[in-house]
């Protein structure tokens, strides 16, 4: 039995980042599935691990780690296996810059759209009293607001428009970056690619107008190359919902 346990949801966004990083390193870990759509992340058992009630979290012996991006850096540094950070400090800077840009600028816009079209509709049909109680239990006020908007369908027109603008702009930025070099932020496959793949793997399905073989050939090639890695295959096989099966769009025809 491994002394590493990952508390995660689907191989997607923040959960998928440490899942794929652990797989790439070949670290054996216990998988603890936290059902986000069932609000498992706000229940006492999980709050004992991460009081903020967000996923993922990881334990390594008696250490508890949160924050998926910093967690990936830990995974890379603490375990043997292929290096997911190049040695050059300037490459490391660029990788961290891109991860932060994705975590704090691009991914939130993808999330807002994803929560309004996917997460909201999936849970909306549940018992209204149960949903209200579930929202009241959420520890972080910001997350409470997001859940409320998703469940009651009250994302504002302005904020959705701004998210669409950012997604379109971010896709152009990624395409430009990937036309300069093979990988996102350095000449070798790194944590920036692991991070980016987790927000972008379904792009040709979710944003077919903006991301396709004509408009963003470099993004598509990059996604397919990562999809073909054994670690990605193993990671996405751990998915339990249709969210994860979207990855099949990356199959070469």
């Amino acid at each position: 039995m491994s002394d590493v346990t990952l508390y995660h949801w689907e191989p997607n966004a923040n959960s998928g980042k440490p899942m794929l990083a652990l797989m790439e390193k070949g670290v054996d870990f216990n998988s603890h599935y936290v059902d986000l759509l069932n609000f498992d992340q706000h229940k006492p058992d999980y709050l004992a691990i991460n009081p903020e009630g967000t996923i993922p979290a990881m334990t390594h012996g008696d250490r508890v780690l949160t924050e998926s991006t910093a967690m990936m850096e830990y995974v890379d540094a603490a375990f043997p296996g292929p290096k997911l950070m190049p040695d050059d400090p300037k490459d490391q800077w660029r990788i961290r810059w891109w991860m932060k840009f994705m975590d704090q600028w691009l991914a939130p816009s993808f999330s807002m759209i994803g929560w309004s079209v996917f997460i909201g509709p999936m849970v909306r049909s549940k018992d209204p009293d149960m949903l209200k109680a579930a929202i009241d239990r959420i520890p972080l006020p910001e997350r409470r607001v997001a859940w409320r908007k998703a469940i009651y369908g009250t994302f504002g027109e302005e904020e959705m428009k701004e998210s669409q603008r950012r997604v379109a702009f971010g896709i152009r930025m990624l395409e430009e970056e990937l036309s300069k070099r093979e990988w996102l932020a350095s000449d070798q496959y790194s944590l920036a690619d692991v991070n980016g793949f987790n927000i972008a793997y379904a792009l040709p399905l979710s944003q077919p107008e903006l991301s396709n073989d004509e408009k963003t050939p470099h993004i598509l090639e990059w996604l397919r190359k990562i999809y073909e890695r054994p670690a990605a295959k193993k990671t996405w096989a751990m998915g339990k919902t249709d969210l994860a099966t979207r990855i099949k769009i990356l199959e070469r025809s």
């Binding site: 910093a70 400090p89 800077w93 810059w97 932060k100």
Partner: protein, 260 residues
Amino acid sequence: MALVLYHGEPNGPSLTVLAALFETGHDAELRNIDLTMGERHQDNVPSGVEVHMSIEGEGPVLVADGEPMADSVFIACYLNDSASISPIAPQDPFARWQMMTWCRQIIERVAPAAAYLGVKAHLADKLSALDDAAFEKLIAPIKSEDLKTRWADIRAGAFDDAKVDDSKAKIKAAVDKVETQLSDGRDWLLGDFSIADLETYAWLAGMRDLEPGAFDGASRTAGWLDRVKARPSVSRALSLARTATPQDIWAPGPEINRWG
């Protein structure tokens, strides 16, 4: 390694990077620019996508061997990791995770709050005193639409009460967190002095005058602020100020979290 640092007054991200530079002992050419007048966007400052789209907003730019770099915590990591020893960041993976996570929470929660309160108090009037043509000229070269909008909102005095209140609460929460962290009598936030001390100090120092209530009774935090300020690297950074109160100089910072 040839380094040129374009920095603003020693406050916020410019303070972090200046002090990190002095802690790590690299030689760099220093060029003082006025971030509050958008000088970072002028042609004489090298830029690239990482400068244009920096989450940090108007921070310093370090040009290292020709590559313009932005985002103070990661620049500080770069300065540390390319020094012969590791003076301001731990090598141990778990201690490094603690530092990165601490800094991430400062960047995500404290920096936007401090910048919001700071520009409201110290930049809004200065910008509204500019005539339309001068302001248009200032923001015209800004490539990030959302950063440009933040500039325009500040000039228009468009501050949202809910965001002001939330920002004040975030500063209070940050002080509480620092106070708790120091409760075992340690000198520095994570044990050894690190980038976490610099980054936290850089965003909080200017809040003492603006939000004095947040610091009420926080005696350990007061002692820690004094200790950071007394570090040779920080006092050297502060000595570069062109104004009497650099802690009052604020340019548009990171945006307030719009998602959650």
